[in-house]
């Protein structure tokens, strides 16, 4: 997980003055197991599922799904004892302040987002795997999902560039496989290949950037990079600047920022629906938390380089995403998933706004809090929308937007919830939390003096409203044909309920997530 075989125990530092230092303590690194429990549990359960798969009869395979759900729930629960702990582990000997793994507020919030999102994805997948009738290999599916979640949970905690890249890859590589897992489905494999090739290129570029940064500063620890990069030899400035830009590219790709977005629609359509939901939420969380760590923690002194770049990227991303979503025709096959894919690109643009604002702000942590709050809102609401899409997709395999017409007549509660989710995404009451999440993003931009970006975003909010509302209105139209009624499977109900309860609770008490904009995250 981290590359510090040479590192020695933290306590040794405390005892540095004493001559009677026990030798054994110097050789063994003490690991704070509680701090690393959340990602570790996810990874261990993943391995356990893979092994159990070998010994299970076909009829008992659904057990694997529930094992994974339980594992993710346990991993999420392990976040509780860490609250307000600010623990760190894998620290360098002699300098307890420099660590590779830190479980501060930022880490915990993003880990909660990742593990909670993965949990909802798992609930969706239980039904999807069952419906696929052995089209998806179960053991592998759950193993890959859990490993990817473990990587994504590790990423926000990593505080050195090597761990960051390793976590990024642990999160991404299983995702490629998940996208292409559907046996005998050409679209699925094509999507996986597209996703894989573009992602690997981006990672390679990012690695190169990191190596440039390492070459000029001589350290991988984010805080040390931040410190030393200000005193780099003048002849190396170009190298550093190139390094900074290249590093950002890899993470921008993960967030699906324009121009690294073109893989999104095809990948989402080709992937099993729960995986599309997973990529849209956890994939983004990986991207933006990586970006935050690299920009705000490691390279604050280069704010004049990444600030404008991210601002431009944000403006471009939201515009391209929303225009793309606007152009979707309701009657085209898979248009519902395509629309959600494009809209997720647009939403990624909003997520980038506060990070860009952090470059101009006196209080970057406050801006970052806006991104975190927005991401939490987006995760709950977008997973909810995908869950309803999964439900509708069971009877209408083409999953066109037009198929949602008259959903209110056949399934009133689901239709009301989808309407609520879509209005939250649009940021219009009654989706109060969506509105306030947008307000925090706006205020971060205004606060930082990025007026033009706020105006671009305002225009985008209106564009986005058009397609979200069009879809919402469709739900309440008279149905074209009587919809076949069917029983909603329990896991799907659970997933929709979780998302709905979260979104409703947040709409009543937005402070629950908006408080991250007020407190220190790191």
């Amino acid at each position: 997980m981290s590359l510090q075989a040479h590192d020695l125990a933290g306590p040794a530092h405390a005892l540095a003055g004493s001559a009677h230092q026990p030798l054994a303590q110097n050789l063994v690194q003490s690991v704070d197991w509680l701090a690393i429990a959340p990602p570790t549990i996810a990874a261990v359960v993943g391995l356990a599922v893979l092994v159990t798969d070998l010994f299970l009869k076909d009829a008992r395979k659904p057990l694997l799904g529930w094992m994974s759900v339980a594992g993710l729930a346990a991993a999420a629960l392990m976040l509780l004892p860490l609250v307000n702990g600010d623990r760190s582990t894998f620290c360098r000997t002699g300098d307890a302040g420099v660590c590779s793994y830190t479980a501060d507020t930022f880490t915990l919030v993003v880990q909660f987002l990742v593990l909670g999102g993965a949990l909802v994805t798992a609930l969706l997948s239980v039904t999807a795997v069952k419906d696929a009738e052995r089209g998806l290999p179960e053991g592998e599916f759950w193993f890959l999902l859990l490993s990817s979640a473990a990587g994504a949970a590790l990423l926000p905690a990593s505080r050195d560039l090597a761990t960051l890249i390793v976590a990024l890859e642990v999160a991404s590589l299983p995702a490629f496989a998940l996208v292409g897992l559907r046996q005998g489905d050409r679209r699925s494999s094509e999507a996986a290949l597209k996703f894989f090739l573009s992602s690997v290129t981006a990672t390679a570029v990012s690695l190169m950037g990191i190596s440039f940064v390492y070459a000029s500063t001589g350290t991988l620890y984010l805080t040390e990079v931040a410190d030393r990069i200000q005193h780099v030899d003048g002849r190396l400035t170009t190298l550093v600047q190139t390094g900074v830009v290249l590093t950002l590219v890899g993470f921008a790709f993960k967030t699906a920022a324009v121009p690294f977005h073109f893989w999104v629609p095809d990948t989402y359509v080709g992937a099993p629906l729960p995986i599309a939901a997973y990529l849209s939420v956890i994939g983004k969380a990986v991207g933006f938390s990586g970006l935050i760590l690299v920009t705000v923690v490691a390279l604050p002194s280069y704010a004049d380089v990444w600030g404008p770049a991210l601002a431009a990227l944000a403006a471009l991303t939201m515009t391209v995403g929303n225009v793309g979503a606007l152009r979707q025709q309701a009657t085209r096959a898979y248009s519902a998933v395509r629309l959600l894919a494009w809209s997720s690109v647009g939403q990624a643009g909003y997520l980038l706004v506060p990070i860009a604002a952090a470059a101009y702000s006196d209080d970057p942590e406050r801006s970052i809090g806006s991104t975190v709050a927005y991401a939490l809102m987006y995760a709950a609401v977008n997973l909810g929308a995908f869950a309803v899409a999964a439900l509708v997709g069971r009877t209408r395999s083409l999953n066109r937007v037009a198929d949602y017409r008259g959903l209110y007549a056949s399934n009133p509660l689901t239709a009301l919830l989808l309407a609520f989710f879509l209005l939250c995404l649009a940021g219009l009451p009654p989706g109060v939390i969506g509105l306030f999440a947008k307000v925090t993003v706006f205020s971060a931009a205004v606060d930082a003096g990025l007026g033009w970006l706020a105006v671009v975003m305002a225009v985008n909010v209106v564009i986005a409203l058009f397609y979200y509302l069009q879809w919402t209105a469709l739900l309440f139209r008279a149905p074209a044909e009587p919809a076949p009624g069917h029983r909603v499977p329990a896991p799907l109900t659970a997933a929709i309920t979780v998302a709905a309860v979260l979104a409703l609770a947040l709409s009543g008490a937005p402070q629950l997530i908006l408080r991250f904009t007020g407190t220190g995250l790191f």
Partner: protein, 532 residues
């Protein structure tokens, strides 16, 4: 008038805002046993009447408990922290400016609910044509009411914005699902225009809130723009002003209004004209005048100019629609007349004097009463004849409503005359005070410019009189053919729904003091440094 405990007043105001929301949720649930009524439709419409009635009663009790000796003081105020991170507070309160609008909203919504209930009983199911259940209708109506009431009661900028936005979705669905011809396009136009405006407004509100360090309207008004530099004020007024001007609507941002009115169902039109438009002008008075006075005085001449253009433009459009052979739609005509009337309101606000602002607030209420009545009567006419097209109605000589349905004709004539500003009826005072204000504007403003505006606006009143009288002539008078079918005259429930509006129009016309006594101290306070 009567002494009511402060905490009871607080509860009443909170109930007025939250009650309709709870009512909207319960409207979607199945009726409990014992309240099922004859049919589910009837039960839910009755539920709507009950909830809006309760809200109206609460609003009336608020009026009774309101300390009329100190209308400039914020009363019944609640101030709870809601989202500390954004410094958003649930701060509600009423003073002499918001109280009349609050009551007007509660009254009009109640009348609309009453009207829908009895219409349904009389088997005229506008509310559930094409298999659209009235449950949704009632729920949307109640959400709309909650949003409007909250807008008038909110004293926090962000809360105000939230309430301002809340009305969009219900109004959209009211037009798009229960509207007439061309409803889909009209609903889109309505929501896109308003939303584009309000997003810009949000930016302006944030600029104020972030620079001044608080979103509290009372604190900001008391500060009277002292902690905001002139450039910040100019930016904020421009951004917020655009959002409010779209809603008002100010020429040239009005083009969504005629379409929306033409397509909306009767109830939707009444509420749109009666209360939704007031949210825009209320925002000007409550937010821009006291919080950013410097920015406001920069833009006041432009605002006045646009307002005057709106007055003339609205009247000319109405004249063109009222001509024979123009295929003018009556609802469209009233919509354009609203553009003209709101022009007077904006002119009054732009003078930045107590006289003008009082006139604006008076004209606001008067327009709500009179135009609400006009839309009700025209809706009834459409029920009976199946059309609102002026040419189809009038045929060769005129629709002869006086002969076919004398009471309906009389009411239409009454509303039209009130609308043109006949002295003695509500429409007169507001416009006259607005013109007075323009005669002697605020010291910082150019007097010659405002004198010109006043002259043009006064000419506009003549045009208004002209088209209103043409409408009365073409619809109410005319030769009655003996074989023509008699139209059903005003029904009992229609009387019930309209009488309050007629009575209030007369009362406000004869005793303007009842309203001005409330608004004037509050306006004086607001212009000279905020509310207490």
């Amino acid at each position: 008038m009567i002494d009511i405990n402060e905490s009871v007043m607080q509860f009443l105001l909170a109930f007025v805002v939250v009650g309709p929301l709870l009512g909207a949720v319960t409207a979607l649930l199945p009726a409990p046993p014992g309240l099922k009524g004859k049919s589910p439709e009837q039960a839910v419409l009755r539920h709507g009447v009950t909830v809006t009635g309760a809200v109206l009663i609460a609003a009336i009790v608020l009026v009774l408990g309101f300390d009329h000796d100190h209308p400039s003081k914020m009363q019944a105020s609640t101030d709870i922290s809601w989202i500390p991170a954004l410094d958003v507070r649930i701060h509600l309160g009423i003073d002499g400016i918001s109280l009349p609008l609050l009551v007007l909203t509660a009254l009009l919504t109640f009348l609309c609910a009453l009207y829908s209930y009895f219409r349904q009983r009389d088997e005229r199911p506008e509310t559930h044509s094409g298999g659209k259940g009235p449950a949704g209708f009632v729920a949307l109506l109640l959400v709309l009411e909650a949003g409007t009431l909250a807008t008038f009661a909110a004293l926090d900028l962000i809360l105000f914005f939230l309430a301002f936005e809340t009305v969009l979705i219900p109004m959209y669905f009211l037009i798009a699902r229960w509207g007439g011809e061309g409803r889909a396009g009209a609903a889109w136009k309505f929501i896109l225009f308003t939303l584009l405006g309000s997003v810009v407004m949000l930016l302006g509100l944030l600029v104020i809130g972030i620079t001044a360090g608080t979103f509290d309207m009372v604190a900001l008004a008391t500060d009277n723009g002292r902690s905001l530099t002139t450039s910040v004020q100019v930016i904020a007024v421009l951004a917020i002003g655009i959002g409010l001007a779209v809603k008002t609507p100010m020429w040239p941002l009005h083009s969504w209004l005629p379409d929306a009115h033409t397509a909306a169902p009767t109830v939707g039109s009444v509420l749109l004209a009666g209360v939704l438009l007031k949210m825009g002008t209320y925002g000007f008075v409550r937010i821009l005048l006291p919080i950013a006075p410097d920015g406001m005085s920069t833009f006041a001449p432009y605002l006045a100019a646009f307002a005057v253009v709106g007055i003339i433009y609205g009247s000319l459009a109405c004249l063109a629609l009222a001509r024979r052979g123009a295929k003018g739609d009556l609802k469209r005509l009233i919509a354009y007349s609203s553009v003209g009337h709101m022009g007077f309101v904006l002119l009054g606000i732009a003078t930045m004097t107590p006289t003008g602002v009082n006139g604006a607030l008076f004209a606001n209420i008067a327009h709500g009463l009179i135009t609400g009545l006009l839309f009700f009567v025209v809706g009834a006419l459409k029920d009976r004849t199946g059309t609102t097209d002026l040419d189809t109605l009038a045929e060769e000589t005129g629709a002869a409503l006086y002969g076919k349905a004398p009471r309906l004709g009389g009411l239409l004539a009454f509303a039209a005359v009130a609308s043109l500003g006949l002295p003695g009826l509500a429409g007169f005072w507001g416009e006259m005070l607005a013109l007075f204000g323009a005669f002697d504007p605020h010291d910082d403003l150019s007097r010659p410019a405002f004198l010109t505006f006043m002259a043009i606006a006064a000419f506009g009143t003549l045009l208004t009189a002209a088209y209103m009288l043409i409408v009365v002539r073409r619809v109410c008078m005319g030769a009655q053919r003996p074989e023509a079918p008699k139209l059903a005259d005003v029904r009992t429930f229609e009387f019930a729904a309209w009488t309050p509006l007629v009575a209030l129009t007369v009362v406000a016309g004869l005793w303007p003091r009842t309203l001005l006594g409330l608004t004037d101290p509050a306006v004086q306070q607001l212009l000279s440094g905020g509310t207490r």
